[in-house]
Symmetry: C2
C-alpha cells in the first residue's frame, strides 16, 4: 500500500436516501423534512462536501425532480451526482458504486444522519486508510434483553455497541464485496464486506449522530443542532 495522508486521500461518498419514511407518519419522504430552514438531506450532503472528492446521492427516481429544485434553491446544483436507488439498501449502494468515479476510499452514509461531525469523518478516514475499513460504533446506553423462544433473556450491555454510518472502505474492497448476491443478513455495508472474510476495523462514533426515523428523532435533531449552534 502507498503511504497516504488523510488530506491527500480521494474520498468518494455514497449517501443513501432511499427511504419513503413510513415510520414518520408524514407524507413527505423523511430526507426532505426540514430542520430549521434546511432539509435533512441537504444538511447531510453539506457535512461531506468539503471533505470528499465526489459525492453520489442515491434517491428514488420519483424524488429527483424535487431534490433538484431544493438544490437549485440552496446553491447545491453541480456539487454532487444523483442516481436512482434500488428496492433494498444493498441495491441502492450498488447503484451508487456504479456512478462513483475513481477514489481511494468510499464512505457510505445514511441520508437521514445529518448530525455527523467533521471530526468523526476524519477519524473514520484515518482508520480506513490504515486497515481498509472503518465501522463507527458507540456504547450501548440502555440495558437490553434478547428475545428467546420462551421470552427474553438479559443481554450483556458491556459487550453491545450500536453501529452507525459513515462506514468507510478501501474502494476495491467495497466494489469486490458488492459483486455478491444480496442476502437478508446484509443490513449494512459492514455485513456485506465481512462476507469477504476480511477483518473489519472500527472507530468511535458519536451519540449525537442519530438516524432520524420518527417524529421524535426530528425534534431531537433540531434540539441538538440548536445546542451546537449556541
Amino acid at each position: 500500500m502507498f503511504a497516504m495522508g488523510v488530506s491527500s486521500t480521494k474520498l468518494g461518498v455514497i449517501i443513501v436516501a432511499g427511504g419513503v419514511g413510513n415510520r414518520m407518519g408524514a407524507s413527505v419522504p423523511k430526507q426532505f423534512l426540514k430542520i430549521g430552514e434546511k432539509t435533512i438531506l441537504e444538511i447531510t450532503l453539506r457535512a461531506f462536501l468539503g471533505r470528499s472528492s465526489e459525492v453520489v446521492v442515491v434517491l428514488p427516481g420519483d424524488q429527483h425532480e424535487r431534490w433538484a429544485a431544493i438544490c437549485a434553491e440552496s446553491g447545491l446544483l453541480g456539487t454532487h451526482k444523483v442516481c436512482s436507488g434500488g428496492a433494498t439498501r444493498f441495491e441502492s449502494v450498488r447503484c451508487g458504486l456504479g456512478v462513483l468515479g475513481e477514489c481511494d476510499l468510499v464512505a457510505v452514509h445514511d441520508g437521514v444522519r445529518p448530525l455527523v461531525s467533521a471530526e468523526m469523518i476524519d477519524r473514520g478516514v484515518e482508520v480506513a486508510l490504515a486497515g481498509g475499513s472503518a465501522i463507527p460504533l458507540v456504547e450501548a446506553v440502555d440495558s437490553f434483553r434478547v428475545a428467546t423462544e420462551g421470552g427474553f433473556r438479559v443481554a450483556d450491555r458491556s459487550k453491545l455497541r450500536a453501529v452507525q454510518t459513515p462506514q468507510i472502505f478501501r474502494t476495491d474492497l467495497l466494489r469486490e464485496a458488492y459483486q455478491t448476491e444480496p442476502q437478508p443478513c446484509f443490513t449494512d455495508d459492514a455485513t456485506v464486506v465481512e462476507r469477504l472474510g476480511v477483518e473489519l476495523g472500527y472507530y468511535a462514533g458519536e451519540r449525537s449522530n442519530i438516524k432520524i426515523t420518527t417524529p421524535e428523532d426530528l425534534v431531537i435533531a433540531e434540539a441538538l443542532i440548536g445546542a451546537s449552534a449556541k
Copy 2:
C-alpha cells in the same frame, strides 16, 4: 388472587436517584439539573404522584437538605418519603423497600427518567396485576454488534429490546427477591426478581422515556418536553 382493577390498586413507587452524574460533566447531581424551570427529579416525582398510594425517593444522604429546599419551593413537601440510598442500585432499592408501607404493587423507576407518561404507567400496572411483574421494553432502533474475543460480531436487531423503567412487581414478589445477596449481574429489578425462577411479564415502553445521563440527553429531554407541550 383477588380480582383487582387498575384504579383500586395500591401502587407504591420507589424512585431511585442515587447517581452523582459523573458522565454529565456537571458539579450538580444530574437529578437536580433543570429542564425548563423544574429539576429532573421533581418532574419524575410528579409523574407518579397522582397515580400511586405512596412514593419513596431514594437519594444520597448529603442531598436530602437540597431536595427538601426544592420541595419546599415547589409545594412538594409531604407528598412523598425520602430515604438514603446505598452504594449500589440494589442496596438503594432495598432501602426504599424498607421505608415503603403496605401496597399491592411496587413500581421501581429511575429518578432521571422524567418523561414517563401516565399511559405507560397504567399499561405497566395492568400487566403487573395480571401476572405479577411488568418490565417495559422498546424495540432497538440502531444496528448492534457484540464484542467477541477477536472483535465484534453482528447482533440480530430483530431480537433486541431496550429495557426501561418503571419495572412493576407484586409487592411480595419484589420483597422476596430483595432478600437475596447483591450480585454484579443485578443491573435492574428484573434481573433480581428473575433469580426467584419466576417468568417475567413485559409491556410496551416508549422511546421518549429516555434516561438522562449526558448533556445531550438533557437537550433531548428539553426538546421532547417542549414538543409535547405544543
